[in-house]
Symmetry: C2
Subunit: 206 residues, 2 copies
DNA sequence: CCCCTTGTCTACCGAGCGGTAGACAAGGCA
DNA sequence: TGCCTTGTCTACCGCTCGGTAGACAAGGGG
């Protein structure tokens, strides 16, 4: 009834849709499931989002904004080279801790084709540029092993997102995971792994 | 009409299903699509596989066997520590080159829950044990950076599979990819990345 | 020669989906 | 007061999907 009700409904619907799309996939999620989960009928959802695809696009945009904000906040005040990569990973893991379906949804976005992912990644473009620049500078200063910075960023992405989404693989490869402790454990392992991968080769003149 | 026709149909159906499940997802693939792609009606498929889930299970088992065979063959004759990790990556990339939907299907298997992935991973269990043992031995001999071998294997898995399946991300992060050359490029980058991540810390004592 | 297994087909069913049509309740505003 | 927008609902439509029932053709073996 209040006019703010509209926008609130919109965002709760989008958040719930991100959860469902992440957990069950886009095709595996029915509009009725999203709607009833927030206590509303399917036709009410269709009032806010005329089609399922429109709902998806809103989810992609919202996810991009949320991730950009979390990473941006995590980077504040971190100036040292090593701290910055770690801060990004920590920010993503923190988001995943309070919203486990979030990384799953991002992976689903990649699965839905380049157009969908583009919609999500658009708002992250400034961060991407900063990241590539950061890596390039680190290589120039011999703080990071020399390699293609764009490819390196891609591989880092797959390692981080993979460690947050491949629960079944984790289960098969290292054993059953449960609770928040294992997430922290994984974060430490990923950070250690990334640190090792970034480290420049042993420099006898160092 | 010949009695061998049955088994041949079975395997062509399974191969086509792996392609479709990988490309469009399990939920996004209809039985009719799989059947008609091999020139047969849906009911003929259901003659060989009574349910969609039965088809999936056959796909999981077949994929596991195929991957185990490819990796096993790739490891033949490779004894040096560095060569072995590289050989596995190369084997997987070669399989992906001739069958792009294969890694996508594996990722889909992980998405379908631990049970499904277990079915796929079961036949790979001996290889997993060899891999963990290999990593542990390398660490004991100071050839590999010391860390949890199971977690390391998991992170390596995510990096390799991610680089073969996250096409949309690759497109957004490093630019449009096309053709076989870019796949080789990616293989080289992943191998360099993994080599860097495995490398033990600089040891002043040589 | 006949039947029975193997493989493929047409026809159909029930359920669930995305989306449309339209009724209806409740403020906000003239 | 009366209307009109906003938000939610019930009812329904058409389509696709997974799965069933059963006809039918064609060898192979008694």
């Amino acid at each position: 009834m209040p006019r703010t009700g509209g926008q609130e409904r919109r965002s709760t619907l989008v958040e719930e849709a991100i959860r469902r799309f992440g957990r069950d996939g886009y095709q595996g999620t029915s509009l009725e499931a999203v709607a009833s989960a927030v206590g509303v009928r399917k036709q009410t959802l269709l009032y806010y989002f005329p089609t399922k695809e429109a709902l998806l696009e809103s989810c992609l945009a919202a996810a991009g904004e949320r991730l950009a904000e979390v990473i941006g906040r995590g980077l504040e005040g971190k100036e040292a080279t090593e701290d910055r990569a770690e801060a990004v990973i920590h920010a993503v893991f923190s988001l995943a801790a309070e919203w486990p379906e979030f990384p799953m949804f991002i992976r689903e976005a990649g699965r839905l084709g380049p157009d969908a992912f583009e919609r999500f990644a658009a708002v992250l473009e400034p961060l991407r540029l900063r990241a590539v620049d950061f890596l390039q500078t680190g290589m120039d200063n011999d703080l990071i092993r020399k390699q293609d910075p764009a490819f390196l960023l891609f591989t880092l992405y797959t390692a981080v997102v993979g460690s947050l989404t491949e629960a079944s693989v984790l289960n098969a490869l290292v054993g059953p995971q449960k609770g928040r402790a294992s997430l922290h454990r994984r974060e430490r392992e990923v950070i250690a792994f990334v640190r090792g991968a970034l480290r420049p080769p042993a420099d006898p003149g160092g």
